[in-house]
């Protein structure tokens, strides 16, 4: 299958935009510059000009496609239902196949990450392990202290400071391939996708995901080695590898065998849902992919759908914890899951949910945007942290590893990490854990554990 092109795209997708401008107030890059070119309808106008043959594929066009966050806020704002996600992915794929922005450094980095690391799960974990060693042996601290990082080229030096902390244990060390509810009653069978970033940097979120599923009567299957879902590739114009990875995923996991396939990362879920569309023309995979898309659920969506058990509210009126919720773009705009995470947070004991201004605005992470467009990314980061702090909350709940890191970094810079960042599912798992601890402990004393990590038999 050849990479998609704007010219060969169904013209009605482009025509769907009637340039009414309703998208403008939702677009962060338009807010940043006030230029139509940096707005959804402006970008669609450029794409349409390309499709019409009025505009050539210029570096400026390519840069514009890369300046877009791909946050999809415009798709929530658009009454006409324009499929901006497909348009952007098509335009970016065309930019890559025509090699408009190519430089040897860019090519090498894209090859190393997208073609090598993120197509080989074991190699990716090995790289993660090396990075972990660099961090725990004190090498990183030493290197930073001795300013050895100054020897690095500027682009690498800036990324070095953003390097997230790697977990000692990855998901496969925390989660058994199959786990059953404690009471032995299995009401549903689900499969949990552990992701790439989530696996290396937030494996406890995967553990918590399994814990809350077990608490709600699900038998949980978690393959110890999983392929990247390909969202990184699809969102960044590498259509071919995205297809390859979707097929590998379907080779390894049979969607017909489960009631649901669970994703807990907004960015991955948004892409995973579209396997059906992605492989619609592939006669070998189409049926399986359609079933996959039908079964794919975000964890919050699934918990609300099956009527999750709210943890007990607790008898004593102890101090409440203020929590605010930052919506991952690809969860709320990409997957239209916005109500359910809040429902879960509201169900937590002693939690007061504080709504944040622009809760559904991008934080600037946007996949690899903080690496490709650092200025706009950090402007969005500051704006986001300002709004989060204004809520007076102690905890920021968010459900995507990119947002998690971006907000954590932003808060560390602006107020020295005075807020905790947590996935809603981690908070729910903690509440279930506290409940168990208090029933087991006759004295009624609670064991507030940050991460209830236990490898079940």
């Amino acid at each position: 299958m050849s990479a998609p092109k704007l010219r060969s795209l169904d013209y009605s997708v482009l025509q769907q935009c009637m340039h009414c401008g309703m998208c403008l107030p939702s677009c962060p890059t338009y807010a940043a510059t006030g230029r139509e070119r940096h707005s959804p309808r402006g970008r669609i106008a450029l794409m349409r000009s390309m499709a019409d043959g009025e505009l050539k594929l210029t570096p400026t066009f390519a840069e514009e496609m890369s300046y877009c966050l791909g946050c999809l806020a415009c798709t929530s704002a658009c009454p006409a239902g324009v499929d901006y996600g497909t348009l952007l992915e098509t335009a970016r794929a065309e930019v890559e196949t025509e090699r408009v922005l190519t430089t040897s450094r860019r090519d090498f980095l894209r090859w190393l990450t997208m073609r090598v690391l993120f197509t080989r799960p074991r190699l990716l974990r090995f790289a993660g392990r090396l990075l972990w060693l660099y961090q725990v042996t004190g090498l990183q601290r030493a290197a930073r202290k001795l300013r050895l990082t100054r020897l690095l080229p500027r682009w690498l030096r800036e990324s070095e400071s953003l390097t997230p902390t790697i977990r000692r244990k990855f998901s496969n060390a925390l989660i058994a391939p199959v786990e059953r509810p404690r009471d032995g009653v299995v009401r549903r069978r689900v499969l949990v996708l552990t992701g790439c970033m989530q696996d290396l940097m937030f494996s406890e979120i995967n553990r918590a995901t399994v814990d809350v599923l077990l608490e709600n009567g699900c038998e949980v299957h978690t393959p110890p080695v999983q392929f990247c879902c390909g969202s990184l590739h699809a969102h960044n114009g590498d259509h071919e590898t995205a297809l390859f990875l979707a097929r590998r995923q379907l080779d390894e996991i049979d969607p017909f065998a489960f009631d649901a396939i669970i994703s807990n990362a907004g960015g991955c879920g948004s892409h995973l849902r579209h396997y059906g569309k992605l492989l619609a023309d592939d006669e070998h995979y189409a049926a399986r992919a359609t079933e996959w898309s039908r079964k794919l659920r975000d964890i919050h969506e699934w918990l609300v759908e099956i009527g999750f058990r709210p943890p007990p509210r607790g008898s004593e009126k102890s101090d409440t914890m203020r929590v605010t919720y930052h919506e991952s773009c690809h969860l709320c705009h990409g997957q239209k899951v916005s109500r359910q995470p809040r429902e879960i947070l509201r169900a937590l004991p002693r939690v007061e949910l504080m709504e944040c201004v622009e809760a559904n605005w991008c934080c600037g992470s946007a996949g690899i945007y903080n690496l490709t467009q650092p200025a706009t990314a950090s402007w969005l980061q500051r704006r986001k942290v300002g709004h989060l702090r204004a809520t007076g909350a102690m905890v920021v709940a968010t459900a995507n590893p990119g947002c998690h890191l971006q907000i954590e970094n932003g808060i560390a810079q602006e107020c020295g990490g005075a807020m905790r960042i947590a996935h809603p599912v981690v908070l729910l798992a903690e509440a279930y854990h506290d409940e168990r601890a208090s029933t087991m402990d006759a004295g009624g004393k609670q064991h507030p554990t940050r991460f209830p990590i236990t490898l079940q038999e």
Partner: protein, 454 residues
């Protein structure tokens, strides 16, 4: 020319590259497109004046633009035009709570005006469908309407002063804070609705009202279009003036619901969205009366919004109607033929009949309370034969509106879209008078040329 522009506003505020210009070749109007020569963003009135002087010297046409959401092609460039983007001029200069006025630069977004007034307990009523992004300068230049027109009037009714830059670069202030002021001709109103053809509006002084203490929104469902129209007549005849009285037909209901998901009855033939506001007791009484009248005239269901949030949701859903209709066909052409309220039912029937006769898909919604209809053609601009039928049908609708004592445009302006019909509505004498005014103020014909006049 470009170098001189850069010297006036700074190089970063002048766009000339093809990729930068393409997104300024259109506004919110369907099927109109024209590349400009350049786009310039002045930061203040002095810069606007300098640009207009330069343009006059070089005989370059100038098209003023706010957010480009207009629906008559008012801010679509003309060939070789300089687009004057006023988005940078977005300061609210003053809110005067003693005189209940607000002074703002032309590029302030309408929603911001509403919010700022709201913050101090005041109310700016005009609420065009695009208010979340349209600019106040654009609203004044087009004399925009909105959902609250029935009770509160339109933009013109709130403009008590404005600053305008004339074609030769002269800066004029017209009007002021006095409620009564009869010094000289009332030229302020000449510029309200002038569509950028007489001067460039750079500042506006707006009148504000005290915020109504209470409001109640009702949603009435009908299984026949006529029943809805009769209900509207009955409400007006009962001497009730709700602030909003909106109508949606079945196709519009379905499209809006598909987008907004606010629980609209998708099997209904017609729907009235009604809002009453004012003193709490008066609101309660009016709401009860309206509900009774709706039921008496065949409403199958009347739902009351539970709270302000639900009312807001319903109004927002209604504002998305035009764009939501774009879900059905590639091209959506929105018209705003308007008739006296008494002729509404007849006009609605006529539109349905024209649609059938020309084999066209027309959805209708609009501000029923003030007679402002939005027949919307769902078509495809790439189908030349069908577009021909659309033009024929449109002409018939305009002619019928005029025959019933109405107008070719209630709130979108003439622009490019309606200019062929203006002479027919105004008659020779009035049309010539408009031309005289245009020639007096813009003798070189450089301000938004080709708009309003053929």
């Amino acid at each position: 020319m470009i170098e001189r522009l850069k010297a006036i506003v700074g190089a970063e505020h002048v766009l000339t590259q093809q990729e930068d210009l393409i997104p300024y070749a259109f506004d919110g109007t369907a099927a109109l497109k024209q590349m400009p020569a350049a786009v310039v963003f002045p930061g203040n009135t002095t810069e606007v004046a300098a640009i207009l002087k330069l343009a006059r010297e070089r005989r370059v046409p100038v098209v003023a633009r706010g957010s480009g959401t207009g629906l008559s092609g008012g801010s679509v460039p003309v060939p070789d035009a300089l687009v004057l983007g006023l988005g940078r001029m977005s300061r609210i200069i003053e809110i005067d709570t003693k005189n209940l006025t607000l002074r703002a630069e032309a590029g302030v977004v309408t929603q911001t005006i509403f919010d700022e007034a709201d913050r101090v307990g005041l109310f700016y009523p005009p609420d065009p469908g695009s208010m979340k992004i349209s600019t106040i300068g654009g609203n004044v230049a087009e004399n925009s309407g909105g959902l609250r027109g029935l009770k509160y009037g339109v933009t013109r009714d709130y403009v008590i002063g404005l600053e305008v830059v004339l074609a030769d670069g002269t800066v004029c202030w017209l009007g002021g804070k006095c409620v009564k002021d009869v010094a000289g001709y009332n030229l302020r109103d000449l510029f309200v609705g002038s569509e950028g053809t007489l001067g460039v509006i750079t500042q506006v002084l707006l009148k504000l009202l005290p915020k109504p203490a209470a409001r109640q929104t009702l949603l009435a469902t009908f299984d026949a279009m006529d029943a809805a129209a009769e209900t509207v007549s009955a409400i007006i005849a009962a001497k009730i003036i709700p602030c909003t009285l909106e109508f949606l037909d079945r196709r519009t209901i379905c499209c809006v619901e598909a987008f907004a998901k606010v629980g609209l009855p998708v099997s209904a033939e017609a729907l009235l969205l009604i809002e009453t506001d004012g003193h709490p007791l008066a609101v309660a009484e009016e709401a009860a009366q309206i509900e009774t009248l709706c039921r008496k005239h065949g409403a199958t269901n009347v739902r009351r919004a539970a709270d302000a949030a639900e009312a807001q949701q319903l109004a927002t859903a209604r504002r998305s109607a035009f764009s939501a209709l774009a879900r059905l066909k590639p091209t959506t052409i929105l018209e705003d033929a308007t008739v006296p309220r008494s002729e509404l039912a007849r006009m609605v029937r006529f539109i349905a009949e024209v649609g059938q006769r020309h084999r066209l898909d027309i959805a209708t919604f609009g501000h029923f309370g003030d007679g402002n209809l939005h027949p919307t053609f769902l078509t495809n601009e790439r189908d030349a034969e069908e577009m021909h039928r659309v033009e024929a049908a449109m002409k018939e609708i305009f002619e019928e509106a005029l025959r019933l004592g109405g107008t070719i445009t209630g709130e979108h302006g003439v622009g490019l879209a309606k200019r062929a019909f203006l002479r027919g509505q105004l008659g020779e004498g009035s049309y010539a008078l408009l031309r005289t005014v245009k020639q007096a103020l813009d003798p070189d014909g450089l301000l938004n040329p080709g708009k309003i006049f053929e």
